[in-house]
Amino acid sequence: MNNFVRVGSGAGMADDRIAPAQAIAERGGLDYLVMECLAERTIARETLDRSKDPSRGYTPSLRQRIRAVLPACRANGTRIVTNMGAANPRSAAAVIAEEAQALGLATPFSAVVLGDDVAELVRGEGGLATLEDGLPLEEILPRMASANAYLGADAVRDALGTGAEIVVTGRVADPSLFLGPMLHHFGWSYDDLDRLAAGTVAGHLLECSGQLTGGCFADPGRKEVEDLAGLGYPFADVSMDGRVTLSKTPQSGGRIDRATCTEQLLYEIHDPSRYITPDCVLDITGVDFVQRGKDRVEVVGAAARARTDSYKVVVGYFDGYIGIGEMGFAGINAVARARLGAEVVKERLSRLGFVYPEMRVDLIGMSSLHGDAASRPEPYEVRLRIAARSNDRTAAAAVGAEVRGLHMQGPAGAGGGYSLGVQEVLAVKSVLLPRNRVTHRVETIGHAH
């Protein structure tokens, strides 16, 4: 066994850029390529997809991503771990086999991780309260679209233990996708809290791909990022004893240093002394970054306590519709005309008999991102945006239609308007399930070479 393992990131969201994934697969010298593609609610959409067509329900970009990375991974002996199985890991593995065939490659030996889908279990389980508001889950059960437990790194470890070249999962906690290969490669145990901490902090830093290497960072004149256009994805070199050094694809753009690492360390963290994953309770209050060379940073000081006795479950549910429309205004008195346009739309919707539990009027260019504040100067151009929620699809659709109607029946000089139509809202809430109620399973597809 090697004393080091190199685990790299190939995606941090379902729509993440694919070219850097191909680059790291080709030039990163990876042992494992991890592609993380599930946001909180995306698995709910995939579950709906599966209910319409049982062969679907995996991440829509699966084929494209696999085509981009599989030839290089095969040539370099890099094993792939991905949660692109979403609501249908079995079908995803079948699709990967099809793509391999289309590329003229031997059929891969894949392992799928099952057991995260706990929708039936949650339906039958009384007394669950949502973590967000403490309300009984029963309130949203009739509208539930999906319920998935965040499985841990042990599920990925077990899948790799089959010898599979590719591991396809549904919901697994993001850092756990990266910790799994380390558990498999080094045989770390769940009692080994220092190693779990090191591997989990590495996974947390890698899980958002380019956000570690200069994405989400550049501010011209203040914080520069060299060749942001050619941003490279990151990897971690992890040693048997838990040393973690971060770097990125050779000859790629971006930067990886103390500043980028610190921003990403705190990304989506609440209490830094207790970041709960299925594998441990991570404490990053003692973390420090040591520059070991250009674009090479060692992570030190992570600590952990033992994992909790429950799994977090994200429940996706239908929550009505949102209608959105936008219209542009410019020149003298633009803001006043935009505000008049908003009043007119609201009045017309009211006269049509529509009532909205929530409506939001924004002036893009003035108050749409940071809210309304006194003393903000009036811009030369402004864009009116109206969004409203309704349980009635027709009422939601009317919002964009009335905004677009301002073209001919609104204030002077209303231009460039459009309706964003209607979006069906899939919202999420979370509950905890006792650890012993959730069991992961591994199935293999294809044969070992």
Partner: protein
């Protein structure tokens, strides 16, 4: 209100960099000081109360501040900040990714100690 001529002008932007993340209806914003002097000034003046005031028109709060001295960083956790949560918000930026830049606009120069 402070003018641009004031020599003591200290926006968070001049002292630190920041990134915003989301979970449900909660925004977390890191504030990372560029140096020790900036860290000390931020420690004293960029209080929970000061941040809550800067975000009061978009976030219900509460606001909690966690310190990471080794990294000269703070993590601000601002509840009820994302229009009911990323998945159901009506906002243009439901994740609140742009809220880090609101944090950086906070001007500490003319503030009395906030609490």
């Amino acid at each position: 209100m402070l003018t641009d001529q004031a020599p003591a002008r200290k926006r968070v932007y001049d002292l630190a960099h920041a990134r915003a993340g989301d979970k449900g209806n909660t925004s977390n914003i890191s504030v990372i000081a560029y140096d020790e002097a900036a860290w000390e000034l931020l420690s004293e003046r960029l209080t929970e109360k000061r941040v809550a005031r800067a975000f009061h028109h978009i976030a219900g709060g509460p606001v909690r501040r966690y310190a990471l001295p080794k990294l000269r960083a703070f993590n601000f956790v601002i509840e009820n900040a994302l229009g009911g949560g990323v998945t159901r918000s009506l906002a243009q930026d439901p994740h609140g990714k742009s809220l880090s830049t609101l944090m950086l606009t906070i001007d500490l120069a003319d503030e009395d100690r906030a609490d």
